[in-house]
């Protein structure tokens, strides 16, 4: 019980301090662009109503989820293919290196040309950024499949889809999850950026709207929402990781203490 309390305390200590510093240092601020935190919090309560959440946060989250899911499926599928087949890797790798070097925000106008201004464009922008860490980590994970385990599978006739599922994907799962974690933060950034270019709703759109109409406390409150969304997603991700990789953490702890 005490241990849990201490961990909770450690968890919230720094955020609380930072919030305090922000509060105190802006308390008497007269700068139009840096309003007192109290103003921002008041704006927060006023702006982020349930209707607003439904109208602007929900579409953002939905697009992020779609893009992230697509990127995961594509990254893992392609990663398994490249990791398993040397020839495919030789053919694809130069092209992939080329695309990987292009920052996704640069692609926004290009994607807009053929995907329009709608959801498709935004989802594609998210995919174009999220797919890389997942792809590269999957390739590394698939290539590192243990030889003895692979021989075991072969000698017991575990081949085809069973092998893919039980051997390759599972043994690459720690790396895949690492890639997914990196992709999540990229996804959030691209979600906002794609909404800043051309959109009629979404978090990024709303924040830019507030900025352009000089509703500065409202703009700051939007940035707070973004941060909170980031925390929520990272907690969700941790839950997911805990479920999927329980064996991995157990194995690591077991091999640490001989």
């Amino acid at each position: 019980m005490l241990a849990v309390l201490r961990r909770m305390l450690l968890l919230v200590a720094l955020p609380a301090v930072l919030f305090g510093v922000w509060w105190v240092s802006t308390a008497n601020s007269t700068n139009f662009y840096i309003p007192p935190l109290s103003d921002i919090l008041r704006a927060f309560g006023r702006v982020w109503t349930v209707d607003r959440l439904r109208a602007d946060v929900w579409p953002s989250v939905w697009r992020l989820a779609a893009g992230y899911a697509l990127a995961t499926v594509a990254g893992v599928a392609l990663g398994v293919l490249i990791g398993r087949a040397r020839r495919v890797a030789a053919v694809l790798e130069p092209v992939l290196e080329f695309f990987r070097a292009i920052p996704p925000p640069v692609l926004v106008p290009v994607i807009m040309l053929f995907a329009g201004f709608g959801n498709l464009m935004k989802v594609l922008v998210i995919v174009s950024g999220c797919v890389w860490p997942i792809l590269l980590n999957t390739v590394a994970g698939v290539r590192a499949v243990d030889e003895v385990l692979a021989d075991t599978c072969r000698s017991y006739g575990i081949v085809g889809p069973a092998r893919l599922h039980h051997l390759i994907l599972r043994s690459a799962s720690p790396q895949i999850v690492t890639g997914m974690r990196q992709a999540l933060s990229i996804g959030i950034i691209l979600m906002v950026i794609s909404e800043m270019f051309a959109a009629s709703n979404g978090l990024g759109f709303t924040i830019v709207q507030f900025q352009r109409s000089f509703a500065i406390p409202d703009m700051w409150s939007g940035i707070l929402v973004l941060g909170l969304l980031g925390i929520a997603l990272s907690l969700l991700f941790r839950l997911f990781e805990y479920r999927v990789l329980a064996w991995y953490h157990g194995l690591r702890d077991a091999s640490r203490q001989p």
């Binding site: 243990d146 030889e147 003895v148 385990l149 021989d151 075991t152 072969r154 000698s155 017991y156 006739g157 575990i158 069973a162 039980h166 051997l167 599972r170 043994s171 799962s173 064996w247 991995y248 157990g250 194995l251 077991a254 091999s255």
Partner: protein, 263 residues
């Protein structure tokens, strides 16, 4: 049952070729328990992989019940030395034992097979544990249970007890003898431990050092009932193990010791 005919294996590297095995020929009859010993680095594992269909010999062939082995044959189970790397760390003990059965056995029968196999290796009650929660000896028992549940005709074991402590090792040796009696399975047991080879086998095949050929085939004329205490103090046991020891020492020098007279 298992015919190894003129098997040669050469690993082709970028600059040089390594001849792991030169020319091996021997036969294992159905239901036999044969031990294969040889100096370290003589290609025991290579040979076992060729017999398991995991490697293709450069020359010669392995035949199982008259059929040439070109890939892992369905009735063969393999137990590897590295138990920590041959069990799936993301699966419970039960799932590890069950996985190879999924393609060929109905669900209800599978459960019974898994339970029986785990019980026969003395692991009843660990079904839900993960392999890494068990000791090394217990992990190797899981790997053996997996092989047992698979109901193989041939069981190939590659230095399975090289990484466990001496006491566990003695227990596992007795377990192998006991399972062999129960299941009437053909076993090839590869080891670098001379005592283990003589204690376990009906026959011991001694390999030379690389480039590897068969140095000697020796029938172990010890009584079928063996136990750690009496068998190991049997004068005949001592005689046999000394002979195998000399043979392996000679193998390292590239010479040979005349075969032992059988009683």
């Amino acid at each position: 049952m298992l015919d190894v005919r003129g098997v040669q294996k050469v690993y082709a590297g970028r600059r040089r070729q390594v001849e792991a095995i030169r020319d091996l020929t021997f036969t294992i009859a159905a239901g036999e328990l044969v031990c294969l010993v040889g100096p370290s680095g003589c290609g025991k594992t290579t040979l076992l992989k060729c017999m398991a269909g995991l490697l293709t010999p450069t020359a010669g062939e392995v035949r199982l019940q008259g059929k040439k082995v070109t890939g892992p044959p369905p009735g063969t189970a393999v137990v590897f030395q590295e138990y920590g790397r041959s069990l799936f760390p993301w699966m419970s003990v039960r799932d590890n034992v069950e996985l190879p059965l999924r393609q060929k056995v109905a669900k209800a029968r599978r459960a019974a097979l898994v339970d029986q196999a785990l019980e026969s290796v003395g692991l009843a009650g660990t079904q839900n544990a993960y392999p890494w929660q068990l000791s090394g000896g217990m992990q190797q028992r899981v790997a053996i249970a997996r092989a047992v549940a698979y109901q193989p005709q041939v069981l190939l074991m590659d230095e399975p007890f090289a990484a466990v402590d001496a006491q566990t090792r003695a227990d596992l040796e007795d377990l192998i003898r006991q399972l062999w009696h129960q299941l009437k399975v053909t076993i090839l047991f590869v080891t670098h431990d001379i005592d283990e080879a003589v204690y376990l086998g009906q026959r011991v095949i001694v390999l030379s050092s690389s480039p590897t050929v068969v140095q000697e085939q020796l029938t172990v004329d010890l009584p079928d009932e063996r136990d750690q205490l009496h068998t190991r103090s049997d004068p005949r046991f001592t005689q046999l193990r000394s002979h195998v020891y000399e043979q392996i020492q000679a193998a390292k020098q590239g010479s040979q010791v005349p075969p032992l007279l059988t009683a």
